[in-house]
Symmetry: C2
Amino acid sequence: MGAFKMRGATNAIMQLPEDHKSKGVVTHSSGNFAQALSLAAQSLGVRAYIVMPKTAPQVKKNAVKDYGGLIIECEPTLEARELAAEKVVQTKGATFIHPSNDLNVILGQATAGKELLEDYPHLDYLFTPVGGGGLIAGTAIASKHFGKGCKVIGGEPMEADDAYRSLESGQIESNNSTNTIADGLKTQLGSINFPIIQQGVEQIIRVEETEIIHAMKLIWERMKIICEPSSAVALASLLKKKSNYKDQNIGIIISGGNVDLSELPF
Amino acid sequence: MGAFKMRGATNAIMQLPEDHKSKGVVTHSSGNFAQALSLAAQSLGVRAYIVMPKTAPQVKKNAVKDYGGLIIECEPTLEARELAAEKVVQTKGATFIHPSNDLNVILGQATAGKELLEDYPHLDYLFTPVGGGGLIAGTAIASKHFGKGCKVIGGEPMEADDAYRSLESGQIESNNSTNTIADGLKTQLGSINFPIIQQGVEQIIRVEETEIIHAMKLIWERMKIICEPSSAVALASLLKKKSNYKDQNIGIIISGGNVDLSELPF
């Protein structure tokens, strides 16, 4: 479905016992994970309930429906969506799967870095974006087990820098604002992925909005890959500090191409 | 450089004797082949002279310069560009390399189909766009030598259908018009690639402009690949006749992402 979230969603469902699978899975997301869980569930013959704010764009609701997800609408607040998801757990017996703060999701996301390291075993650095923390936590695990001293660096929007500040303070911090074009990175770190990130990530580099857009355009023009702003943040962070990484072998995970082609930022 | 033309340009230069290489190569093109020959020549330490109409967009001239090509401007007529290229051959001793009607260019383009057949040996059909005929002629050769009965089909804009009409009449026909968004496909078949196409291509399917744009958008949205209209013509031709190809294994060569992101057709 065009984003790494598919990896985590698939693994999380596959690891469920059969009697759990038969009752379905539920998540709250209006982004790529909603589509990923819907499609992964459909592929595995499992029902997927997706809690989405009623204000979510119709195009995102349609994408979930197209992948067979059953949408449950709620008010656009954190409390409402958690309540709605909990209700599905209670009434349907479905298993809740968090988009990023779930070990099997994290291990699924880890396969991206694992595959990159299989192709290029001598990477010195692996760059990923940081949103909810699932991808970078998975990448840290992959790097530890499959890399040869490969260090993991995260790129994060200045406007949603909870991971940067959490690593500074040593505890999970909240985003002060989420006024960023990288809409997939507005989410918060969680209790499961944060310790993995603390242990396995060397550094988070924060980038400005203009740097994100520049990196995104560069990927489009040079690599001919359609990526969304959130996916371009890792390259943006490398470009910002490129003098620090001279002559190093660097891998960048670019994933997620959910873009409205009629509303490009360039 | 983001298009299959790189393959043909590289092979054509590599096959030259050393004393020819030292005098450089020349072509006339304002499209992808101009950039491809420039970059291939630069990579191989060879000088590349590129004859371009003075009316060519500055962005294309800049791309050629960035790849180290030496631009020679001419009036925007076929006669003027052939004269200008011939002059470089005479005065510099450079070797003329035609963008599509050159056997070593054709053999270079053939590597795209060869690699696809190495990955998927059991393709029943290979679809490519048809412009000057280099790619489809190369694909026909690749299919014959590396396929298992794989047939080659070309997609061509209705508005530049010289290949379709040439196969019908049995001789090289000219384009009546070239009013198509697929600007890489306005060129004519040549004396070297036409016999190969006659022998090795099963059919040319012509498509309307709206079908080209629809296919291009589909590739952007679903495959997350930035392709130019010319590259989308092969998929457009398959979609137009898809009922004929039910349950077949089909490969499509999608290559060329030279798009002005500020002037998208959708």
